[in-house]
């Protein structure tokens, strides 16, 4: 009996996926675990794995077509087995006539998805191919990350000695390429990293147990506020606070770091400051989930990365506990993989605040839209010479404007203002960012 392979949900927000490429042809032998197709989701390009052993009998969704999550995209079974697509794939109860119309073609043609696109009478029909069927109880296909990066795998492989050496020398293991089996980082790799002067050598961040967020009920006052705000401003009711930050001190440190061949960007300072400010003002470190509030105990900061056709916000976990060097290396690595669409879903979900920086485009100030379910976002403008008053005199200083957008259902103006004050203080007196 042929088993259908359904399009799995490859990211938490994925509703449909476009088959970019079939990695196996009809008639090819497939084994459980083989990557059979490359799929473009709303976030990344990922591979779909076969769950069963057998022969790829039929491809239902050709490359270039879009399928809904749960829709069958292929059949795997015994060699020579005949697949009756119409019988195997009963149409959805709520399916508009479009699917009905396309079905005969599907039953005959070896590539049913080549059937014409849904005709105009069914504009609401999903972009899925005509044979789209409800998900059955067959086991879901497994997911693997496309182009896995050794450093980005769940577990970093390093010999005990290499780990100790890295810690002592302040080498970021995540930035070291392992030369041992399965990318294991060994002694010689650390030695090589230590001999490179440009290697980032931050104080090592040792991940501990990450505290789970508390789930708190909304107080009745909060409920009323949330309800009222949502009435006035549907969706996530934003409010905005703007503050100017003197960036002279940050720039001075950055110059010194550069002279010491330590690469760190202004944005890395802002990420660290945003995280430390969260720990100072924990009431901003929240997320509204239905009628509950998640109170985080970890300071995770998203960074908005512009990519082709859109943007994505990878999250730097525990940014309050990581050194600037670690944040710099991680941000660089995440942004690079974001551009290649090679991020894993868990790398761009969670966190309570995002830093969106358009300074490099010369934008002085802007207002950003919150990335739900986060509760706030920081819109960061360019660092530029501006005339400001100091001690009653006009002086030229390197200034930067930051605009905070808050989710007014759970964050109020005074709280946001307190958070911005902390952020400003941390950036104007950045010594606390260095430890």
């Amino acid at each position: 009996m042929a088993t259908e392979i359904q399009l799995p949900a490859l990211s938490p927000t994925m509703k449909e996926g476009k088959i970019l490429k079939w990695l196996k042809k009809e008639g090819d032998q497939v084994s459980s675990g083989d990557a059979i197709a490359e799929v473009e989701t709303d976030k990344s390009n990922l591979e779909v794995e076969a769950y069963d052993d057998g022969v790829l009998l039929k491809i239902l969704v050709p490359a270039g077509e879009v399928a809904e999550v749960g829709a069958p995209i292929a059949f795997v079974g015994k060699k020579g087995e005949v697949v009756n697509v119409s019988a195997a794939a009963p149409k959805k109860a709520a399916e508009p006539p479009a699917a009905e119309a396309a079905k005969p073609a599907a039953a005959q043609a070896p590539k049913p998805a080549a059937a014409p696109a849904p005709p105009p009478p069914a504009p609401a029909a999903p972009k899925a191919p005509a044979v789209s069927v409800p998900a059955r109880s067959s086991p879901p296909a497994q997911v693997v990350q496309l182009r896995p990066e050794p450093a980005a795998e769940g577990r970093l492989r390093a010999s005990p000695l290499a780990k100790r050496m890295a810690q002592e020398a302040g080498v970021n293991l995540g930035a070291v390429q392992g030369s041992g089996p399965q990318g294991r980082i060994v002694k010689r790799d650390i030695q090589a990293a230590m001999s490179e002067p440009q290697a980032v050598r931050p104080v090592p961040y040792v991940p501990g147990v990450r505290a789970e967020p508390d789930v708190l009920p909304l107080s009745s006052m909060r409920k009323v506020i949330a309800q009222r705000m949502a009435e006035v401003k549907p969706g996530v009711p934003h409010f905005y606070l703007t503050i100017d930050v003197d960036m002279e001190a940050v720039l001075a440190i950055r110059e010194e770091a550069k002279a010491a061949e330590l690469k760190v960007s202004v944005n890395d300072f802002i990420v660290k400051a945003a995280a430390l400010a969260l720990s100072k003002v924990p009431k901003v470190n929240v997320s509204l989930q239905g009628d509950r509030v998640l109170q985080f105990h970890t300071q995770d900061v998203g960074i908005a990365v512009a990519i082709e056709d859109g943007l994505i916000t990878p999250v730097i976990r525990d940014a309050d506990r990581k050194s600037l060097g670690t944040i710099a290396a991680e941000a660089k690595e995440l942004a690079e993989r974001a551009r290649r669409k090679a991020l894993k879903p868990e790398e761009y979900t969670g966190g309570s605040v995002t830093v969106s920086n358009l300074g490099m485009f010369g934008v002085d100030a802007f207002i950003a839209v919150i990335n739900p379910p986060q509760a706030s976002i920081l819109a960061v403008g360019a660092v530029a010479d501006r005339v400001v008053a100091r001690g009653g005199q006009p002086v030229v200083r390197k200034m930067m404007t930051v605009t905070f957008s808050g989710d007014h259902r759970i964050v109020d103006g005074a709280l946001g203002a307190q958070y911005l004050q902390e952020l400003k203080a941390l950036l104007e007196h950045p010594v606390r960012l260095l430890f």
Binding site: S159, P160, R164, G180, V186
Partner: protein
């Protein structure tokens, strides 16, 4: 310094200790009138008489028991096992009496006895006569286990074993009896429980004992030619184990390969590997590798016997593995 064969070095040790202490006597199959199955006891009957060089019937459990009893009442017996394969018959006396009597008597009785004889393969002696059995004895509290590699060490360690107040399992090898080496003149005593560092290098620690030392030395020479320098640690005593020497070397080289003639499963190497991982974990750059006899009974057929035993090529390959320099 004289060049002596192993059997001559052992003979000297026995002769010297018997001269030194009238309580020392030798007992076993064919040790007296035949001058020893491997000629270790050559001339001892003539020199010390039949009261101190005693031939026994083929009854390992019986004469091991006589030895244990003699030791308990103050003598210092040296019991020769024609091979350690035959001593399997004497396990009850060795394990249940010799190893335990000191503790079970609350220290009132001691058991200063040496069980000695050839251990391991002799070359085409088939499954029952080719076993390296050190792991069995090292397992039991109360026994010391000694396995030297060179004639000088055999002499110095046998003399120390005879003088030790505890039961000592002294492991020789048929294939070593004819091996010659320099033996210093005069009194030679080597401490039990002390390993010898026979080569020094920073790349890997090679740990071995007994006859395998010669395979490991050969492997070390080949590695040296390829620019790989090893610490070669000859343990000499397996129990008590010289953990200090092992750990010091592994902390220096960050890698270890353990080579033993016996089977891998529950072998002495497994114990050493545990010592390393538990006490020098942070020093390791690679998993500890072991080279041991394959987990199969020894064949009489030469080709099959060789296929199952340790050789220098296997040692070289293991060292390259821990150095991440595998070929092919």
């Amino acid at each position: 310094m004289a060049e002596l064969a192993w059997r001559e070095a052992l003979n000297q040790a026995l002769s010297e200790e018997m001269e030194r202490d009238a309580n020392v006597f030798l007992m076993g199959e064919e040790v007296a009138r035949y001058d020893g199955a491997y000629k270790v006891s050559q001339g001892l009957l003539a020199k010390f008489g039949s009261a101190r060089v005693v031939d026994t019937p083929i009854s390992e459990l019986g004469f091991a028991g006589i030895g244990v009893g003699a030791a308990m009442v103050g003598l210092r017996p040296v019991i020769e096992m024609m091979t350690w394969n035959f001593a399997i018959l004497a396990m009850d006396q060795i394990v249940n009496n010799a190893a335990k009597v000191r503790q079970m008597s609350g220290g009132q009785l001691r058991c200063p006895i040496v069980f000695r004889g050839p251990n391991g393969a002799g070359g085409r002696l088939a499954a029952q006569h080719s076993q390296a059995l050190e792991a069995n004895y090292a397992h039991f509290p109360g026994l010391k286990v000694v396995a030297p590699s060179t004639p000088a060490e055999a002499k110095g360690l046998l003399k120390s074993s005879i003088r030790d107040d505890n039961p000592v399992i002294f492991l020789e090898a048929e294939l070593l009896y004819g091996v010659k080496g320099e033996v210093p003149e005069g009194e030679l005593l080597l401490p039990l429980g002390k390993a010898a560092l026979k080569r020094e290098g920073d790349d890997c620690t090679l740990i071995t004992w007994g006859r395998m030392y010669y395979h490991v030395e050969e492997a070390a020479k080949q590695l040296e030619a390829e620019g790989i320098h090893v610490d070669l640690l000859d343990l000499r005593t397996l129990k008590p184990l010289d953990e200090e020497a092992i750990l010091a070397s592994v902390r220096k080289t960050n890698r270890a390969v353990i080579v033993e003639e016996g089977w891998s499963f529950c072998g002495v190497g497994a114990q050493i590997s545990d010592t390393i991982q538990s006490q020098a974990f942070d020093a390791l750059d690679a998993p500890v590798q072991r080279v041991a006899g394959l987990d199969v009974n020894r064949s009489y057929a030469a080709v099959l016997e060789h296929a199952a035993e340790v050789n220098p090529a296997r040692v070289v390959a293991a060292v390259k593995k821990v150095l991440y320099r595998e070929e092919g």
